[in-house]
């Protein structure tokens, strides 16, 4: 295909170095025993085979992000009053907006990682609300997705519409061949990113070689179970406390699953002040934590971890679907399974939910997944708007 480029293995670092001159380049590398996405640094190396421990979502959704900074103009404690100064002068606050995001390229993200964008876009770039902080980064970021040659036992992207050579949300698809990388542009933005003289026109046979690698990875994922009706099943189990208590018995209620998850997108906002200056931060939050739902009154609707795990699974496989055209908000990367200190397996919970729901009710009639109106009524407690809409309009 015209536009396909070839990057020799020996030139990868040189090319990323070249890109780094004008852009922020995120790429995976080894740090300790983890593989993390960091700004590219040739001296610290690259890791383009092992699967990254964390997702690449922080390129668009930083762990903590400055929304604005502020300073109170009032004099420091104990400073003499200035002549003619009125109380309103001293209570003034000066607000500064953060600098514009740098153009960014994420090199070597996994196909499932690109799935995060499918979940983030409808929320941060929705029809009702547009989040400028997200939008600016989204518009300035090029995604170079790396096709998986190997899959892990925790991978299940094919259950949820993903693919080891996923091109959805990708700008370029990169496949490692024996002596280098085939770079296939997917979007115009991707094409524009592939102009370096280090990139040669790809030999004709390379596309076939890449396809063979993709097919092989697809095959090793095995067959996907049918998840149809999973949203209705989860809604019907909403009040089945026993089910959720059993599923969550081993859960530690930490933030590992949600923070490593490419599609989890919740945040909290804090003002971090020091003397007269401060920043307003938006930081990752997790529905597995008790504090997430703690109300000002002291009441906590999800004080038990069972309710919190129900929310994590429910949000991905039921609530999000109803609001977003049937889109499951899990991309099947398996990180939450691989890194859970308690070996909690979301696949098993989903399968158990289908079985459990079928055992208490006749299977739901076949239905289009999308419109909520066509679905059976969710169990009573989830009906209210406030409940189904998780934080950040999920």
């Amino acid at each position: 295909m015209p536009g396909n480029k070839f990057l020799a293995t020996a030139d990868v670092a040189a090319w990323l170095g070249e890109l780094s001159k004008t852009m922020r380049v995120f790429a995976p590398r080894n740090e300790g025993q983890a593989v993390v996405y960091r700004e590219f640094d040739a001296a610290k190396g690259l890791e383009l085979r092992r699967k990254p421990t964390e997702s690449a979502k922080h390129a668009l959704f930083p762990r903590s992000e400055e929304l604005l900074s502020f300073s109170y103009l009032r004099p420091a404690f104990g400073a003499p009053e200035k002549e003619g100064e009125t109380p309103s002068d001293v209570s003034q606050v000066q607000v500064k907006m953060p600098v514009e995001p740098m153009p960014t390229v994420v090199f070597g993200m996994l196909g499932c990682d690109a799935g995060s964008v499918t979940t983030f876009d409808p929320i941060y770039d929705g029809s009702k609300f547009k989040d400028v902080y997200y939008l600016k980064k989204r518009q300035a970021t090029v995604f170079i997705v790396r096709a998986c040659a190997e899959v892990l036992s925790t991978c299940f992207c094919n259950w949820v519409g993903g693919d080891p050579a996923n091109t959805k949300n990708a700008d370029v698809l990169a496949t490692e061949l024996s002596d280098g990388w085939l770079l296939q542009p997917v979007t115009e933005r991707g094409e524009k990113a592939l102009t370096s003289p280090l990139l040669k026109d790809a030999p004709a046979a390379s596309e076939g070689q890449a396809t063979a690698i993709h097919d092989n990875a697809r095959k090793s994922l095995g067959d996907a179970p049918n998840l149809e009706g999973i949203d209705a099943a989860l809604f019907s189990l909403f009040a089945d406390n026993d089910f959720w208590q059993r599923q969550s018995a081993g859960c530690l209620a930490c933030g590992t699953c949600t923070y490593l998850c490419p599609t989890c997108h919740c945040f909290s906002i804090t003002d971090e002040t020091s003397a007269r200056n401060g920043v307003r931060l938006r930081s990752w939050d997790t529905c597995m934590a008790s504090l997430y739902t703690l109300e000002a009154s002291g009441h906590n609707p999800r004080s038990l971890k069972a309710a919190r795990l129900r929310n994590r699974v429910g949000h991905k496989f039921a609530y999000f679907l109803r609001n977003n055209d049937g889109q499951i908000s899990c991309c099947g990367c398996g990180r939450c399974i691989k890194s859970c200190p308690s070996s909690v397996d979301i696949r098993q919970i989903v399968k158990d939910a289908l079985v459990q729901a079928a055992s208490i009710a006749p299977p739901p009639p076949p239905q289009p997944v999308a419109p909520a109106a066509a679905s059976p009524k969710p169990a009573a407690p989830v009906k209210g708007k406030g409940r189904t809409k998780e934080k950040a309009n999920g």
């Binding site: 018995a249 530690l252 209620a253 590992t256 490593l260 804090t270 930081s283 990752w284 070996s343 909690v344």
Partner: protein
């Protein structure tokens, strides 16, 4: 031993809400915490080098109910400490012990597998007394258990449950702990050590798995790390704040930590946060002659006051 342990679990089952142990995990290299309520569920019980998790972490959740728990030696120390601190009532727990031969460290298995094979590619494994063989696709790779055993096992003083109601098997000899790992680390200069921690903590994602996996960390839902009112810790993604939390965690565990290693194991990005606590544990031993989790009748040194500490010379110096 597996069958005898299963027998002991079945025997205890009628008297308790559930027995906590280990069951099948999501992949061949991992087991999962397992909560047995019915005799037939006991069939899937797993013990041995994959019984990695510390089941004691769940005990405080069952306050007011009687539960059974199967414990390795290190896990039993957590239970003892929980009892000593009043987090768990002795009469509410039935402890089933066995002689432990050590558990694996999955990160060490990963290191043995080499750069191109990930633990997630392992399709099956078999374990003999001193070897572990994993199959990856069509090839088998055998490693010495000694190379993949968790660090804590090399210096395990209490391989048998310190306290138990049922004990299955012949007790094993314990080893000594000379803190050689700490001594080796301390050979680095202060600057080098600080640079090491800065580098390590920079990849912390503030998930607090280290905190929640700790059987003695019980504030959790009210932890200073995230509390809004009062707002103690800055939420910025900065190494300073992350390190700050670890120092808080380590001081809160001073003289309480039993060295179960769960904090390090739970960390998804492999930060050896247990080292901080080990330093405090050695200090508690030197200063107060105290070893957490060995005697439920004692009070941790920082939760009490003694006019004369046996190992601190307060006069005539």
């Amino acid at each position: 031993m597996d069958d005898e342990l299963k027998g002991a679990i079945r025997k205890v089952l009628p008297d308790v809400d559930c027995v906590i142990g280990w069951g099948p995990g999501p992949d061949p290299l991992r087991s999962a915490p397992f909560f047995m309520r019915k005799p037939e569920e006991v069939d899937a019980f797993v013990v041995g080098p994959l019984a990695v998790n510390n089941p004691a972490v769940f005990l405080p959740e069952y306050k007011g109910k009687k539960v059974g728990i199967v414990v390795k030696g290190c896990d039993s120390r957590s239970v003892v400490q929980q009892i000593a601190e009043g987090l768990v009532k002795r009469e509410e727990v039935v402890i089933i012990g066995f002689p432990c031969s050590g558990v694996v460290d999955i990160q060490k298995i990963a290191a043995q597998l080499g750069q191109d094979i990930e633990p997630g590619m392992v399709t099956s494994l078999s374990i003999s007394s001193d070897k572990l063989t994993v199959n990856v696709k069509d090839t088998a790779k055998t490693m010495d258990m000694a190379d993949v055993r968790a660090d804590k096992c090399a210096s395990c003083q209490y391989p048998n449950a310190v306290v138990s109601d049922e004990f299955v098997g012949t007790p094993k000899e314990g080893k000594t702990d000379d803190y050689a790992d700490l001594a080796a680390f301390e050979e680095k200069s202060i600057d080098e050590r600080f640079a090491f921690w800065e580098q390590e903590m920079s990849r912390c994602i503030r998930c607090y798995a280290c905190r929640n996996a700790c059987p003695l960390c019980v504030c959790r839902d009210h932890c200073v790390a995230t509390s809004r009112e009062p707002h103690w810790l800055n939420q910025a993604d900065s190494t300073r704040e992350k390190l700050f939390f670890q120092l808080i965690h380590a001081t809160h565990l001073a003289g309480r930590c039993t060295g179960c290693g769960e904090c390090s194991r739970a960390c998804p990005v492999g930060i050896p946060v247990g080292l901080f606590k080990r330093t405090m544990t050695r200090a508690a031993a030197r200063l107060f002659d105290y070893q957490a989790g060995t005697n439920a009748e004692t009070v941790p040194p920082l939760q009490t006051f003694a006019t004369e500490e046996p190992t601190i010379k307060e006069r005539e110096w």
